[in-house]
Symmetry: C2
């Protein structure tokens, strides 16, 4: 029977109870927890409710359930980190980012761009170059490349000032499926250094973002070079 004595749902209380046991060390990684049927009897709830509770623990990385065998304590996935990267408001901080458009034009794809976007060399590409600044001065210089689709109007203001995924979405009108980001360090070229107001050769953070459509074609490429002293990326493990 259902016990509405507490304010929280039964499956939630069950999950909390098991979680506490795990954190107290009553279960060790690799241990099998009692079967769903046992837990159902133990907590006086139906099997479905037990499953709901276990699903919660599994989602948070405390256990792994294996069909036909049981549910097992796992070590927390502490080396899987989540990074939020929004290129305009760099990192969701309430930084006041100013954007300066350097140029926006249509160019022929060179071999580098062609490879990244999976188009022919010489294909028409929209190229956008911008400088992002905070209150302290310039932070990053950023180049974006999008395949040019005829018939799609170029709304200069929007395309230049919106965040990259938004730009891609607006421009191509396809379903965005995923993106990838590569992070590395580089020395700033003289041109980049001048734009960022530091000596040439200063350390910079290089962020390359590629956006893919649901049919796995690259539909946008962004290359962002940041002043090393003004940008820190922060990632945390499974923030629930």
């Amino acid at each position: 029977m259902q016990e509405r004595s507490a304010f929280l749902p039964a499956y939630y209380r069950l999950a909390e109870d098991l979680r506490a046991k795990i954190e107290r060390g009553e279960f060790k990684p690799g241990d099998m927890i009692p079967s769903t049927a046992q837990l159902a009897r133990q907590y006086g709830v139906s099997p479905m409710t037990v499953r709901q509770g276990l699903a919660l623990l599994a989602k948070d990385g405390y256990i792994k359930t294996v069909q036909g065998k049981g549910s097992f304590i796992t070590v927390p996935p502490i080396d899987t980190l989540v990074l939020r990267f929004v290129d305009n408001s760099l990192l969701g901080e309430d930084r006041n980012i100013k954007v300066k458009l350097l140029n926006l034009n249509i160019v022929a794809a060179d071999s580098g761009v062609a490879e990244k976007l999976g188009v022919e060399i010489g294909a028409k590409i929209i190229k956008i170059k911008r400088v992002l600044s905070g209150d302290e001065g310039p932070i990053a210089v950023d180049s974006r490349f999008l395949p040019y689709l005829k018939g799609v109007p170029l709304l200069e203001k929007e395309i230049a000032y919106a965040a990259f995924p938004e730009v891609v979405a607006r421009h191509t009108d396809v379903f965005l499926a995923k993106s990838s980001l590569e992070i590395s360090a580089c020395a700033l070229s003289p041109e980049e250094a001048e734009l960022l107001e530091v000596p040439a050769g200063s350390p910079g953070l290089l962020l390359e973002q590629i956006i893919y459509s649901n049919n796995n074609r690259a539909i946008g490429w962004s290359k962002m070079i940041c002043r090393g002293d003004r940008l820190v990326l922060r990632a945390t493990s499974h923030p629930r």
Copy 2:
């Protein structure tokens, strides 16, 4: 009634069906999808089964369900990226990482370490310094700091060569709850540059990892400085 005609579970087929509709553009972001009761009738399944399907879509970021209102199409969370960071095998690549231990000793916490680990200035701290190399040569130099707990033996080999979360786990025997990683660029100091066999001032990637216990106390701090030309971090959005 249950239709076992297909090989896949009903909730899964329902989710796939809705996902296809979303990707085909039949639903647009912000749109409300039919209510669970409607879907139950439509697909000839029970409400619980519909819920299970919707939970799947919600987990993958296609919809968001709101109690009392309905389920709504969301834009895919393309700017939430997942980064796997395992410090020993840098990035899960099958790189063959060699580890050289420079020193391992117990020091008094200076103000920087004390702040990071939340201990008193002067508290005993285990400090480990290492160089990580690949086949091409040195990649990173890395310093780790752990609060010293009396009675816990220092197993030099393990503590020096294991990945950081493992070291923390083995050393402290507490439940690890979460970790954070800060990524930035810096110029290499003369000492770091020498260890990494590059000129002083070369660009480097600075990775600072802090590991927290379940009671939210910092129990490990790792500071890793990488040659910019030999390390690229890769993150992808919801890798399913």
